[in-house]
Symmetry: C2
């Protein structure tokens, strides 16, 4: 095999009540990456987009993920990778995870599946460490496994695949900057036990709703009394978008990852489209540039589209 | 119908990582209650056991639950109830919940099902308020619904039934006193966000494990980093019992409700029996009197055994 091409999807981390433990892969948008083996134990990066990301592998999220793999290969070979980013960095829908996860899945395919999915997650988490300072897996895991994933534990890493029922996802990305590291900094280190109890009731309800295909229960459980009240302050018109999307029929939703994107789940395509109209109406009126996506849950994760 | 007789089961609240939100009904032990209608809007209580519980209905958990029902009946009738408690008060396996839930389920049967299950939970919660000062539902809900239940939210009350897979339960009740109100008082009002994240990863894992019939995942998820480290100090030999039961093959377990009982889950009857031997060995050596039970998950809750 001389090269492998993949589509690496956007992901929504946290899913409202599952801060740091839940994530979901989307069918759109996705990055496109083509990788080939080289004889040197290094990573050569070609950016085929306008984001001007670093090409020094030690400063590039795909680069550090691949360097972690090269170490496991006893430094005998390396990778040349072309990256066309379509997921805007800083949008809150797992742009860095798509780079890191896509790179290691593509490289693993080139190596005829030398590493397990969980090993790939661990390598790709180095990219998240570079991007946000924290080795979190709530975007990486759904990007690699597809569907909805639970990171039950980081130490040791324990990933649980949750069967995704048909769900439509509407995303709006208001074009403001919210750095993951800043969004993490403003959180309180201590929380009220009573709030934590409410939160674990909700995450248990969300998981039960997903497994029982109970859309109403999913909707009732999409409540975050801990993170959202703090982080939503950074996102203009957040409360209005959320309440109007619910009125338009969305099951619920909230901040995607650390924002600024907002996601909403719907039971059908028609509602997801109406939710998009609501989002457009609000941000047009507020006067902030934005992108929207109407998509579905991606059940496969990073997709191999070509190999030869 | 002149009278109704019920068996009202013991329950395990919290289930390690689900403090205040999860509960499970057991097939043994259970209280036996017989109820009949009377013309006065009051409750007459006959105790048929040696626990010397109050017969004044306003000071008896079954009494206050029935008084709450009488209010809904516009004070036109009342109940005469005989209670044979077999679940020792203060054991931590839902003795007060069995009294309150059994009474209202029996009374509702007498009234030819005038109230819904959720209304019965609400009435019975008055008993918990009397017993512990808090209107919690994590024993009441499984006692009435059977199986495993999630209290997603108390305000508004939202109860989710989790399909119970076959599970064997071993209980040891060391005969020391732990008051629910004291066990609640020693908890910290604030907890670390990082501990809360670990806890909601575990409760999500436990619910996923139950729904996927993944026993290993259930076992890995039975971890409590918030409540158990504080409350277990009140229970002699807790850590030893827990680690030795795991060594004997238990999936995991912990404090039942606010203690002092300890419960362990096992995949089969043989392991549950071996776990019982371990519990007996420890408390015999420590020199504390105890009871043990080896039982299974009760799928029906309060059971009508006779009506005529």
């Amino acid at each position: 095999m001389s090269h492998v091409k993949v589509y690496s999807p956007a992901t929504v981390a946290n899913l409202v009540c599952g801060f740091d433990v839940l994530g979901m892969a989307l069918n759109e948008p996705f990055d496109i990456m083509t990788i080939r083996l080289i004889d040197e134990p290094t990573v050569v990066i070609h950016n085929e987009d306008d984001f001007d990301l670093p090409t020094d592998p030690s400063r590039n999220v795909a680069g550090v993920a691949l360097l972690a793999m090269i170490e496991k290969l006893d430094n005998k070979m390396g990778f040349d990778i072309c990256i066309e980013k379509r997921i805007k960095p800083g949008s809150g829908i797992g742009s860095s995870a798509a780079s890191a996860a896509g790179a290691v899945v593509a490289a693993n395919q080139l190596l005829e599946i030398r590493f397990s999915a969980i090993e790939l997650v661990q390598m790709a988490m180095n990219g998240e460490k570079l991007a946000s300072g924290v080795k979190h897996a709530d975007n990486i895991a759904p990007c690699i496994y597809g569907g909805l994933t639970l990171i039950r534990s980081i130490h040791p890493l324990d990933i649980v695949e949750l069967n995704p029922l048909p769900l439509y996802v509407t995303i709006v990305h208001p074009q403001i900057e919210v750095k993951t590291s800043d969004a993490r900094q403003i959180l309180k280190k201590q929380i009220l036990l009573k709030d934590a109890i409410r939160q674990w009731g909700n995450i248990a309800g969300l998981v039960a709703g997903l497994m029982k295909s109970d859309y109403d229960l999913i909707g009732r459980s999409l409540e975050d009394v801990i993170i959202e009240p703090i982080r939503s302050i950074l996102i203009p018109a957040f409360d209005e978008v959320k309440s109007k999307c619910r009125e338009a029929g969305a099951l619920g939703g909230g901040i995607s990852g650390s924002g600024p994107s907002i996601f909403m789940l719907s039971r059908d395509a028609e509602t997801a489209g109406e939710v998009e109209l609501v989002m457009k109406e609000v941000y047009n009126r507020v006067g902030i540039d934005f992108n929207t996506y109407v998509t579905t849950v991606n059940k496969v994760g990073v997709k191999i589209v070509k190999e030869k």
